[in-house]
Symmetry: C4
Subunit: 284 residues, 4 copies
């Protein structure tokens, strides 16, 4: 990120071919930059879709050539893109070891790896799904998506509160899961509660209101405890909602205030009822 | 819509028989217009109910004549209505190719189609369920349903934010579904995770807290990942709620305060029942 | 209710034995009135608990005498209470045909009915569960439960909006359930989608995130549509929450404002920032 | 709690070895006090993790010595801690019979009990899971976790409202569960609805949107009633959310605004970063 920014500062003015390519690939404020982003988004989407389809056995077995061809097309295109990215970026090392640099590499390596080890483990191929993460690089640029920003800020602000809440939920689930392990597992011999981790898993499935039903209580007392967990889950589902809500309101409040600018200190973001600048005291 | 409005402007004054019929059918501000709406609502409701019942095999086999009779009654009534609508509307082409014009046609065609192809595909008959959409035409007129409006506005305003949120959720589900495909499907041989689309389907079932239970993890690691997805779903269920909430508040804020301005101190934002300015005591 | 109130007005002063009994039974502002309420709550709770236990076959078969004894104890106590209520109330007819009067009668009739028809239908006995509704009579009096009031008001205010919302949800579920009926039921032969009502039932189970799993899609397209319904359910779960929230805020806003009373017109419930009475213009 | 505080007041000044140990164990405002807390948290976490793993039969059977060794290590460490706590605390009786004193004892007793009764009931061992509760003692000290506090206050404030709400939900579930008992259990012979408690359990599973699927309606009327319960659950899930939300807002309102008062115009409620009064421009 930081490297990107310093690069940007240096390269924005210069006009060599390399720098123009850099702007197309790394920025999205020009026409060709936007076009590049859109083409890249489609390519990523398609390649992810192909990886998914290939994992379906009947397709995989019946059309091996088609999938091979498509996969190599994507791999070569992404390899070219990767090479060009390395070429145009000034601080090459910083790019290569950045989060997105590693993702870029991981999304082409599996195909080459199958050349070296044709009978290697199949799950290596699955790594290609990480291409999906490249979508976020494009989205990161298209910051016009103010919504994503707002959500991100609200999410980040409410993370500590939600973590504390989830910790409490997990503690409750552990204690209740242990009760269930004793009542259903040890006493009643319900195989779904054969161990404590298993019972806690059931507790999480229940308190989050998912309720697969692969594990369910069979004793009356077990059902009473299960009902309590359900009602707790039902009642406290509210807490993270309330937290995020509060933070979104805070975020919205930051946006909505008027954009009067103080003539003296230039401060923007005054209260709507404010008459004087709250920083330097000048009349607005 | 636009055609309707221009029609309305032209026809509101004139008083020919055709125009009076137009007002009864297309408007709902007269007594007979309202009566027509209510009769139509009942007919649509009944016809949809009959279509549903007919799809139950035991009824379908035992009472074919009754269903045939009912169906033809509805078809003839709706055909007459369709014909009258075409007759009274000025811009016939615009009506026929409008959204509701097509729905009106689609809700009568299947019955006639069975005459031409008595052994045609059964699912053609199902198209008749689209009659349900005609309910919204009646509701659209009865705009006294201010609630629907408020919800619609709040929903429309929060759609981009919710879309961004759902995109993130889908990305998380895809990555985690892929992990599960490797762990449960490839390694443990769980048939429920036999392909990536299948695993992502499971991920959506889980993160939305639906939890059918037709697919469930069997390995310890799979259960840990599943627990994480559940807690994510449980924790982020909050986000769309928060978004919609914020927008509903914005909508409510637009409605509630009246904008009377105090002639003395200029204060705006008085209570709707207020008679005097609450700041300076001047009569409003 | 109205009769109660007029009764109350008349009887509050008089001091005959009948009127004192009336105050104990129908009011809860005296010590003995509160004691009566608490005893009644316990009796109702116990009798409901006994009805529930009796429905468990093993208990029902093994301890018929115990249940018979308990049931007749409750029946006789409630019969005495019913008789006394009729005796003390002025407008007997109004009481007997009031909502709670009918519930009072229904909670004793089943026991007597079994005397007349010892081999009558068992589900008649189940009517006794309606005793539970009698709890609300006691709660209604104990209006100190301000929380119940607040919730009730917020719920009543948001009911029309929630109704409109549920109508939309049902319409979406019907249309999508029909799609699923065609794809899963007619084409793929999934017995869980054998008719349209069945498919709509599945749709409701899914969109409400309950997800029993007794009915689940088996075709890829069916799973894609199911995923869409889940995400719609997940995303729009927010809407009723937002609505109720807004109304609760409105209710809270009614309570929180300061309780300054206008010295001139006596109006209470001014805005916290108000300097002058908004009704008559007097300085507060 | 109270004893702790009075102890604290007395011991804070003195500087004997015992008092210095007391400060390390019971307070967390010194460097060594924090280090002790962190070590204790890790020990508790690890011991809980080992208890969980031991409950898995395959581990339990294959590595009995490892688990025995680990368990005795934790037991001896916690016993030393317990002894030291008793030694340093002034009011020993108050500590021993306090909530956390009992938890401290309960987390070491099971291991010693197995010495006395080597073939005693296995579920005694499960009591060790209560060690998890000791985590909250450490957390209680680390009150820097302001988030937990905020959540706790909001939760405590909304508890009465949520209780009233859950009572209504349970009443609705009981009545509807009884209907289902008659329709599905008595009439249709669905074994999942064999008794009223069983039917009410199903009702709670459904209204909380958990939906295991181990019990599901099979008759059309049963499915209609089930759909109604689901929609009620879907619609009223909002209520506790709304309640908690409101309380969290109240809590946040208590924290955020600073209460500096302008010396010139008396305005209260300035922004926390404000330097000048936003109303009259006076320096704060």
């Amino acid at each position: 990120m930081l490297t990107d920014l310093s690069d940007r500062a240096h390269q924005h003015e210069s006009n060599s071919f390399r720098d123009r390519v850099w702007r197309v690939i790394f920025l999205s404020n020009t026409k060709s930059g936007k076009a590049f982003d859109i083409v890249l988004l489609w390519l990523i989407g398609l390649s992810v879709f192909v990886v998914m389809l290939e994992s379906v056995e009947s397709y995989h077995v019946n059309y091996p050539e088609t999938f091979g061809l498509l996969e190599w097309t994507f791999t070569i295109l992404f390899t070219i893109e990767y090479a060009v990215r390395i070429w145009v970026v000034r601080d090459k090392k910083a790019y290569i070891f950045s989060f997105f640099g590693i993702i870029d590499l991981l999304s082409i390596i599996p195909s080459y790896a199958t050349l070296l080890m044709p009978h290697g483990p199949q799950f290596l191929v699955v790594v290609r799904i990480l291409r999906l993460l490249r979508v976020f690089r494009v989205l990161k640029m298209a910051r016009h998506l103010g919504e994503a920003n707002l959500l991100m800020n609200a999410f980040r602000a409410s993370l500590p509160k939600i973590t504390v809440f989830l910790f409490f939920v997990l503690a409750v689930t552990t204690i209740m899961g242990t009760f269930m392990y004793v009542i259903e597992g040890l006493v009643a011999g319900n195989t779904g509660f054969s161990s404590m981790p298993q019972s806690i898993y059931w507790g999480i499935v229940t308190i989050s209101t998912v309720g697969y039903g692969d594990v369910a209580p069979i004793t009356p007392i077990g059902k009473v405890i299960a009902s309590m967990i359900m009602l707790i889950g039902y009642g406290t589902l509210a807490v993270p909602t309330g937290i995020v809500m509060g933070e979104i309101n805070v975020e919205l409040a930051k946006i909505q205030p008027d954009n009067r600018k103080c003539s003296e200190c230039g401060h923007v973001g005054h209260d709507q009822k404010a008459v004087f600048c709250k920083i330097c005291g000048t009349k607005l």
